[in-house]
Symmetry: C2
Subunit: 229 residues, 2 copies
């Protein structure tokens, strides 16, 4: 299915991208050891993998951001995660990818064959453990998210999203939001209208400042933290 774009697209990008944090290094090493290729920057909306396709590759975001979402049979979609530089994708899949993944903004990603990773893991119990930990982390993130969806109101959801996203970016006070309001809404279980309204209210309340609709500044982090509960 997935029209994987020409895999050896060349364009020899400098191997050291700016921002990728240095943790999770068992896996980073594996990415270095296994025949990893770096794809040219992807255009916004460009597909990385497709829900239901055989999960043959694992990816890492080097630059930019990636959205992953599931398509429901009734046509709606649920955005399960936004991935930023340093994050891995596709690790938690079984045989098939359970989500679609596509680039937001001009993302750059690295690719590793799942089979290569599995081969390395069979020999290296440390790597196996690291892979396991990645899934545990994904699970815990998902549970945290479920908790927000189950019990929190619109304001809490939006604030939780902003704080969480900021944290993953290294807690900048001002940040760029590469996703649309619709993407946020589909992530938070709200409508685009409610998200928009809520952001407006946060701004008039003086908690955030929106220089433009995609550019937000967090003003009172402590107050925001308190809203998150």
């Amino acid at each position: 299915m997935t029209a994987l774009r020409d895999p050896a697209a060349s364009s020899p990008t400098p191997p050291s991208a700016t921002s990728a944090p240095a943790e999770r290094c068992e896996l980073c090493e594996a990415f270095a050891i296994a025949s990893s290729s770096v794809r040219a920057p992807l255009a916004a909306g460009e597909e990385i993998f497709r829900q239901g396709a055989r999960a043959s590759f694992v990816y890492r975001v080097l630059k930019g951001a990636v959205i992953s979402y599931r398509l429901l049979n009734d046509g709606r979609r649920q955005v399960t995660e936004f991935h930023v530089a340093g994050d891995f994708l596709g690790l938690e899949a079984g045989l098939e990818y359970r989500t679609m993944a596509e680039a937001l903004g001009g993302a750059t990603i690295a690719t590793v064959r799942r089979a290569d990773l599995a081969r390395l893991a069979a020999a290296d119990s440390g790597l196996a453990r690291a892979l396991w930990q990645m899934s545990v982390q994904a699970f815990q993130r998902s549970e945290d998210h479920a908790m927000i969806l189950a019990r929190q109101g619109a304001t809490e959801r939006v604030v939780a999203f902003l704080l969480d996203y900021a944290d993953r970016l290294g807690t900048p006070d001002i940040m760029d939001l590469p996703m649309t309001r619709q993407d946020m809404a589909d992530h938070l279980g709200l409508t685009i209208h409610t998200v928009s309204r809520t952001l407006s209210q946060l701004q008039t309340a003086g908690l955030i400042e929106a220089r433009s609709s995609r550019h937000v500044r967090l003003l009172c982090r402590d107050l925001l933290e308190r809203i998150r509960a």
Copy 2:
């Protein structure tokens, strides 16, 4: 919070419980090999482990059911999962348990030291893989649940719960619900009232039959499946 009740309550139960399904056998074997102990049947509400405690053990439900939930700082709780015979608990934890776990009805559980499991897994890449797969499954269940919480209405949530629970029990048409309405509500992100009302509506619609409040019969599985979307 909940006082731990006398741990060695005795009452030597027959070791072969009825229902535990035979899949996931790498892990079952590990349970057999590692110094596994079987606890006497637990009374309803009896604590298995506590949120925040060091995760030294992994458990398997042999009989009955177990509820696990998280306590929020504002005092509310989110029920993350109901575990039935055959299910494992505590595998997906990091260093500490992220949830409370306690027995519903008279559950029997087996216990294995985490350290023993880790030791076995370091030597046996098949077991390591099985452990990893368990976390992946937990993750996927959590994501499915998040999807329901994000987008579905009360009816869909309750129906999804009934069908899912029935599936885990081996898809019986009639089943016993060992949890309270409050437990269901805290799992589904609803109030006890809405759960109760919804069940009543499902009954008057002829989709289920409630012999008593804890005893439900699913009448039109196909219709119910359709509601689940």
